[in-house]
Amino acid sequence: MEFIVNNFNYWIYVILMMIGLFAMIAKNNLIKKLVGMTIFQTAIILFYVSIGVKGEGATIPILSYEQVHGTHHVEEADHAGEDDSHHAQADLPEIDARTITNPIPHVLMLTAIVVGVATLGVALAISQRIFHFYGSLDEDVILAKIQKGDG
């Protein structure tokens, strides 16, 4: 039981992913296959994002003003662009990496989401074209039409 509770994020992603994979292989309707494809990809996104979580007390990967510009001389920020030494590390407060969520999985998944949307769009266009040619989105019907020599 503990194995499941401690790793529940992994269980959820595996179950979602298998639902998607099943739909992609077993469903006859092309649109249902695409729904499965989207679930499949979303499961992977869930997996990646859950890698970056850092338990309680960790916040979003956006630093506060003090963490970026230091705590002293707030008015100096107006000249931030011109003053080279302003960025010297010495003035800045320490950041405890444990308090900030890992940004890398978020970055990767932004890319993966975009790729997923792009694939879905192209796949929808292709299935529209199939419907235009064969008058159906059911794999069996289409295959029967091809066998009959309509392809």
Partner: protein
């Protein structure tokens, strides 16, 4: 079709079992000291990116600078998607485009409530999307998010006033040009860095061109430039995808 279902079931059970088998080896949920969370790479981004890029939003810093090359290709993926959809579905013939003109005149016949609501929402939506784009350095946001919202405003026009109405504001060739310019803005920024003698996408050298910046702030501003490029492409392609899919490539009528 039963055999296919059995094959699928067996595949799913084997794959799922395999994946669950591996989870026993994974760090527990939310472990801040797991190899991924505690790696030198992750800590470098969290601790050093404020010094190296002056951008508080770490995701933006990593996305647009450290892994900027990935993001450029991500933009290319969006661009490819729009172009692929047009290539598959077609852009409509000139006869059909003439029909767009005619049916645009039927704009007035559309539902008044929808049109008035769209008129209220669209300007606000566009303004907010610009905010999301420009504020990506400080809060969740950036080129993709802002671009999607801007594209959504055109889709809203199409939903309320018909696709021809939206196409009269942003035509398909115009959108393709915009999408190309977006990728050009991103790649061009990298190319300028190369012409100034640095590696591709090494933004710091841009302080020679941008006024009143040092090497760090040059990265900060270059990130904004590339995010704008991303927003161009995403805006245009979101609209192209909607226009092509909703009209089956005929570019008339719409939903």
């Amino acid at each position: 079709m039963a055999p296919m279902k059995i094959v699928a079931l067996i595949t799913v059970i084997i794959t799922g079992g395999l994946l669950l088998y591996a989870t026993g080896d994974f760090p527990a949920w939310g472990d801040p000291l797991s190899p991924a969370n505690n790696s030198a790479l992750s800590r470098h981004y969290i601790e050093q990116s404020r010094v190296e890029t002056a951008v508080p939003n770490l995701v933006t810093a990593v996305l647009a600078d450290y892994r900027g090359y990935d993001t450029m290709f991500e933009t290319v993926v969006v661009f490819v998607a729009g172009l692929a959809i047009l290539a598959v579905l077609g852009q409509g013939t000139s006869r059909e485009r003439a029909a767009i003109q005619r049916s645009a005149e039927r704009y007035q016949e559309r539902d008044m409530i929808n049109i008035m609501t769209a008129r209220l929402i669209v300007p606000v939506l566009q303004l907010f999307s610009l905010y999301v784009l420009a504020h990506g350095h400080y809060s969740p946001g950036g080129g993709f998010q802002g671009g999607v919202m801007f594209g959504a405003s055109f889709i809203l026009i199409a939903l309320a006033g018909g696709l021809p109405e939206a196409l009269s504001r942003l035509s398909i060739p115009g959108a393709l040009l915009l999408a190309g310019l977006g990728v050009l803005l991103y790649g061009g920024t990298g190319l300028v860095c190369m012409m100034l003698g640095q590696n591709f996408l090494d933004y710091h050298i841009l302080h020679r061109l941008l006024p009143a910046t040092d090497a760090v702030m040059a990265r900060y501003h270059a990130m904004l430039i590339v995010e704008i490029g991303v927003a161009f492409t995403v805006t245009a392609i979101m609209f192209i995808i909607y226009a092509a899919l909703s009209s089956r490539g005929r570019m008339t009528g719409g939903l």
